[in-house]
């Protein structure tokens, strides 16, 4: 279908800048994008009859990664070796 209506996973790598251009970066657009992403994740992994640990474990892992990256500058000071 047309480029602007495809989801991110269906966009090919070469078309990525064009797809980004069609994106809506206003606050409402960003909010809508976030809502869509959350609802698709929620409907796929959490809002099911027999879910497992996968739903929240992926969220927690993402949170761990995010917080590690936010604290990276501070953690860099506690390295074991000076030269890698």
């Amino acid at each position: 279908g047309p480029l602007s209506e495809r989801r991110l996973m269906d966009v090919k790598l070469g078309e990525l800048p064009m797809w980004l251009a069609t994106c809506d970066f206003s606050p409402q657009g960003l909010l809508g994008g976030v809502q869509k992403a959350w609802s698709s994740y929620y409907d796929k992994y959490i809002n099911v009859k027999r879910g497992g640990p996968a739903g929240i474990s992926m969220l927690l892992a993402g949170y761990c990664l995010l917080s590690y990256s936010w604290n990276y500058q501070h953690i860099k000071c506690h390295r074991w070796r000076k030269y890698h």
């Binding site: 027999r50 879910g51 996968a54 761990c64």
Partner: protein, 228 residues
């Protein structure tokens, strides 16, 4: 007539019935990596591709110390091991318990629905019975009409009888009157004739008739003596 300008019920109903929830969530390996990632890498690298990628990335982060090993690593390892042990041991029990709760909820809702359906069905049956009863209305009215006709007939005949009796009484009276009158006239006439006859019997006639009777009696006695 609905006072509305916008058309009603043009789109498909979206509220009911809701589509059922999917049975299982998306496939996830080791609780962290979605299956789609493995399928994405399979054509190019086969089955071991993602594992090699993971190992390579891990060694790279460790060797370049992009991931630094410190006290938090130890804490993370302990916590993760406890969590994984807990999930492996009690996961199925918790899942069964949650399924039972869900089952009870669904069963209750289903019971309510079935109850409502049963009640409505009985109501429909009763309504049909009432409609069937309505058909018997004509018989009821015929019976009532017959009753009323009989009452009217009875009343009419009673009154006829009364009329007949009254008229007969009057006629009988007239007949009795006439009979009485004739009777009285007859009696009176007889009495008058008798009186006149008795008056007209002179003493001479009386002596003659008595002598005649004695002579007759003698004659009779002569003939009768022989029979005795």
């Amino acid at each position: 007539v609905l006072h509305t300008r916008r058309p009603l019920h043009t789109t498909q109903q979206r509220l009911a019935p809701l589509p059922p929830l999917p049975e299982k969530g998306g496939e996830v390996r080791y609780g962290l990596v979605p299956e789609e990632f493995f399928q994405f890498l399979y054509p190019k690298t086969g089955v071991t591709g993602p594992y090699m990628l993971g190992t390579g990335l891990l060694l790279y982060f460790l060797s370049k110390e992009i991931y630094v090993i410190n006290h938090e690593t130890v804490a993370a390892v302990c916590i993760l091991s406890v969590i994984i042990y807990g999930i492996k041991k009690y996961g199925s029990d918790v899942a069964a318990f949650a399924d039972k709760l869900n089952e009870e909820k669904v069963a209750k809702a289903l019971a309510v629905k079935n109850e409502a359906i049963k009640d409505l069905e009985t109501a429909v049956e009763q309504e049909k019975k009432e409609q069937w009863r309505v058909e018997g209305r004509s018989y009821l009215f015929d019976a009532k009409r017959n009753n009323i006709a009989m009452l009217l007939e009875t009343n009419y005949r009673e009154r006829l009888l009364t009329v007949y009796n009254e008229v007969k009484k009057r006629l009988d009276y007239q007949v009795a009157m006439q009979n009485l009158k004739r009777q009285k006239e007859q009696d009176h006439m007889i009495q008058w004739v008798e009186k006149n006859v008795v008056q007209s019997i002179t003493p001479q006639q009386q002596k003659d008739s008595i002598a005649k009777c004695i002579l007759d009696l003698k004659a009779l006695s002569k003939s009768a003596q022989a029979a005795v």
